[in-house]
Symmetry: C2
Subunit: 247 residues, 2 copies
């Protein structure tokens, strides 16, 4: 039986999603719990994609196969009881045997939280990026529009990435809004993302918001297909994998 | 020279404020940094009072004496550079040589944050107490009124406390309000507090908010002078030492 689960995690104390020999990872914790439930058998967990150290997830989606005959309703409780308190399973259900958490992704949404206040907030230090300089929201919104559509996003891909194939991706929607707590939230939806793409988009939009670059400059940056033309990579703690939609 | 500082800390990864042989403490970190600055000399830090493991501070106040001739303006930067990222010095200034962070307290304010939503919020798990059952705010407000004034608060003092002297304290103000994020915030101001007093008050108000006890019952609980008559001690992560006022 194939199960599909929606999970949340607080990325603060993880060395990212993907399992690695040393370091505490989300996949490592999930697979350790599943091994316990399956009497030591290794159960491989597949996610919609990895997230980096410090990056959070509100709607990460995974799948795995099981031979256990636990009713689906009991899985949720069993997993949440055994998982550490920084991973929560929000939903679990039976999926078709050919469902694939990575290959069947239709669209993903990421959100990046910027706390735009003079004073830093100690209690949010792991959950947003604190920017002291007042940001010019309207300029950022204008700049964001240039990113929507299908483009070669080479300028917005980490230089050390080993992406196979082209760097053409489609962003279906970008919105940049301020909430009541002086947080600027950048929402980016797309059919696929390159390594560090949302963090580089954020870093670039920030430079526009500071007044250092004109909004139209973003069009040039895309055309250049050169990572060095875009802004800095924004830090991980502001980024959330928010939602994954499937076909 | 005596210095007075207002500090904030995230209590999550501390075994409380007060220094102890094993365990990471706020006082321990402060004194370690001051020892470094004073070439190994032990500088004793005195706070307005201790806080327990997991309890946060937004306006804890401390004092210490120094022989260093650093301008006061540079102290803030020096301390914040050397302290770990879960302690922040918000303000530091010269105080009269007889100023005492504990003995000169006029009033203290604590705030307790209750997240009153069906779903728990993973990212707030260390910063509020999640209560699923909808709370009856008006009943809690009625109950709170009985606590204001000068009373023997024995019923609201941890049974294992070794308070010397009586347990008569004065609460000058209580307010219980809901914010826009479905958080119920209990503010308690008073001239002195017993061990676990705000957490036991919160636990008692919660039972009233659940509809398990009548608001008037609080008057009886006070009169009983018996810890077993009050509610459970609410967990630490919802509690913040918010402000300390001095004469």
């Amino acid at each position: 039986m194939r199960l599909k689960a929606i999970i949340q995690y607080d990325g603060t104390n993880f060395s990212g999603y993907q399992i690695q020999p040393n370091g505490r990872t989300v996949q490592g914790k999930l697979e350790a719990v599943l091994a316990k439930m399956h009497k030591g058998e290794h159960i491989r967990v597949t996610a919609s994609g990895r997230t980096d150290q410090g990056v959070h997830a509100v709607g990460q989606t995974i799948h795995f196969d099981t031979s256990l005959t636990i009713p689906v309703a009991n899985w949720l409780k069993a997993l949440n009881t055994m998982l550490p308190d920084d991973i929560v399973v929000k939903d679990i259900s039976e999926a078709p045997p050919d469902f694939h958490a990575r290959f069947d992704v239709k669209e993903k949404e990421y959100r990046y939280f910027i706390l735009n206040t003079k004073e830093r907030d100690l209690f949010k230090r792991h959950y947003c990026y604190h920017v002291q300089v007042p940001l010019q929201l309207e300029r950022m919104q204008q700049a964001g529009k240039f990113l929507v559509g299908t483009h070669d996003f080479s300028s917005f891909c980490a230089a050390n990435s080993n992406v196979k194939g082209d760097k053409i991706r489609t962003i279906t929607e970008i919105s940049i809004e301020e909430d009541s707590a002086q947080q600027i939230i950048i929402k980016v939806r797309g059919t696929g993302f390159l390594y560090n793409m949302v963090r580089i988009i954020t870093g670039t939009l920030l430079e526009v918001g500071f007044g250092l670059r004109k909004p139209e400059k973003v069009e040039e940056i895309i055309t250049a297909c050169d990572r060095s033309k875009a802004g800095k990579t924004a830090p991980p703690q502001g980024l959330y994998l928010w939602e994954v939609d499937y076909y």
